[in-house]
Symmetry: C2
DNA sequence: CAATATATTGGGAACGTTCCCATAATGGTT
DNA sequence: AACCATTATGGGAACGTTCCCAATATATTG
């Protein structure tokens, strides 16, 4: 049961550990016969290097943390996929922690990762300002931090990857207007994160431009999941608010609202059109399919991982911001049957 | 930037590393004054134990692997939540790998985890027989393996946690029949996994009992995701098969099929009733809400983690099988509006 | 043939910790 | 006063590697 070590090989072959090490590392200062003998014995005894020992030696853990508000919708999963694409080939382990949209848990998660000695952290924050000081401390203590999607205030010098929320939200509102909608509700994301503000800003700007803005239609939801969308829709109906379309911060919000409306016998999109930000397979796996801003989530993860690797290699390297392009895709939830 | 070590503390306080270690570990053989001085200095210099060194010392990595067919639906996420609940408080890290329903990738993932030196592995397999020999090898080399949901053949002596698939599938078919359905389609899971066989067995048994079984209605899908469900539904329609209800292996299959049917203008449940296995929030976040076998997924993760910890503590401990109870919940997709 | 270059190997420190063993100092007992 | 038990501390090996620095053996050069 005990693992074979270099020492075992050394004893088995009557060689020193140095020589074994050289053979295994393809060092040039070794006789090819010896090398072959060693490799053969390693094979035979099932030698596998002890990564823990190497980690100690090199002062790295070859692991990184991935902190997200939630892991139960495909959003984070798709980003994670991208992170894996980059990091697994490099031998990194990824440790995932969920904050449940709670800054206190986020803080605990970060500290836990620090205690795990991770080489770096990729994070989608859940509250822009609350943990600002922790981010700074962690970076100061030497663990690089890379943000994606929801990014912190500009005062923090970190690498980050995001999409142009303001523009894409604006374009989506233009689309709804071009579909003849005039009473557009916005189910807003948490006002403590920057891209919620950005998207709401785009919404407000375009509606104001068209002289259609009505502050009553800007809804602060209580979360970003299905349930929050459902509740928001219910309140709109219960309060007898007149509206003909919804633009939601996330696909989950949109779907929650859409399901509630349909349960009330309201036709989508005939009576209410629905659009949102997405990038997950949710947008095409609901009825009707959802018009959405398709964010390149996997690519987002790949970019974040690449930026993190740069920082891990050289902690003093300049921070970068990558802005990815997102595509608007028009589907049945705004266009109706003709699609 | 360099981390404070015990040696630094020793030098700072003119004490030996042994004494520092004792102070930090609350050893009884130490003067309380000394202990306080050490703790104070540790605080001041920001000492944090180096887990890598400890791992090397104790021959453990305090990390476990979590291998699942996919991570983009909430199924695995919910199980993972349970795993986290048990393992994080114990200081374990969880490393997640996705097999994409591909036994070859599953194999690679397992070997990768072994090279990471994980203390144990929790796995939901994607092909019952293909990797059998690898499971055996890994266990033989000393890494405990715990299975959940999809479990391997009985010849393998491992701990596992599952639900009673046959019974619950049977009950669900009884429900559909009691709703007046007689032409019940089964969207079957991959025939290479045992619980797909079990659920199909329950389906077949009850229908045969009621003299309603029609082999034409047993559909082998090409996967378990939304898309596979959609394709299966399309084929049924295209082939002009007559049916009045669907019982699906997973909620994703059911939802994919349901969406396609609705896009074709078919009413659910009036024309086609739909039911499936679930346990995720999908069942209540679609329109109409889905009648389903609600598997206790978080609990499944907790049980699997608990079993794994037992094996990690004592690799010779007896393997256990935990069968969890799943509840049938009847919703609009079979009952209709009256709910 | 001596001198030097080259090839191959071994010894042992280092990474940060724990823990066994020795040592020193103190206090109490006869 | 001599002894032993107790308390507090230090020294150093060990976990599995790598890699620097010898040490040896062989080959090459003038």
């Amino acid at each position: 049961m005990k693992r074979t070590t270099i020492k075992d090989l050394a004893q088995y072959l009557s060689l020193s550990t140095s020589t074994i090490s050289r053979a295994l590392l393809n060092d040039k200062n070794i006789h090819s016969d010896t090398k072959n003998r060693v490799l053969e014995a390693a094979q035979k005894l099932g030698y596998k290097p002890n990564v823990t020992a190497l980690n100690l030696k090199y002062g790295k853990t070859k692991s990184i943390g991935f902190v997200v508000p939630e892991m139960t919708t495909p959003f984070s999963s798709k980003v994670l996929q991208g992170v894996h694409n980059i990091l697994y080939p490099l031998g990194y382990k990824v440790i995932i922690l969920q904050s449940d949209e709670d800054p206190v848990r986020e803080r605990e998660n970060l500290l836990l990762l620090e205690s795990f000695n991770v080489d770096g952290i990729i994070i989608n924050l859940c509250h822009e300002t609350h943990n600002q000081s922790i981010y700074e401390e962690i970076i100061h203590r030497g663990t690089p931090l890379v943000f994606f999607d929801r990014i912190p205030q500009n005062t923090l010098d970190v690498s980050k990857v995001l999409v142009d929320d303001h523009i894409k939200a604006s374009l989506m509102i233009e689309h709804l207007i071009s579909c003849g909608r005039t009473k557009i509700v916005h189910l807003m994301g948490p006002s403590t994160v920057r891209n919620a503000i950005e998207r709401a800003g785009g919404y407000q700007r375009i509606l104001t431009k068209h002289n259609l803005y009505d502050s009553q239609l800007m809804i602060k939801t209580n979360g970003v999941g299905f349930e929050a969308g459902r509740i928001a829709a219910k309140q709109l109906i219960d309060n007898n608010v007149k509206f003909d379309s919804i633009f939601a911060f996330t696909d989950t919000l949109a779907i929650g609202a859409m399901n509630y409306l349909q349960e009330q016998g309201i036709k989508v999109p005939e009576e209410i059109a629905i659009a949102s930000f997405s990038g997950t397979e949710f947008s095409v796996n609901v009825f009707p399919q959802l018009t959405s801003v398709e964010q390149p989530l996997t690519q987002m993860g790949e970019s974040a991982a690449t930026l993190l690797i740069e920082k891990i290699k050289d902690n003093t390297s300049a921070s970068q911001t990558i802005i990815l392009d997102a595509k608007l895709v028009y589907r049945a939830s705004t266009l109706g049957k003709e699609v």
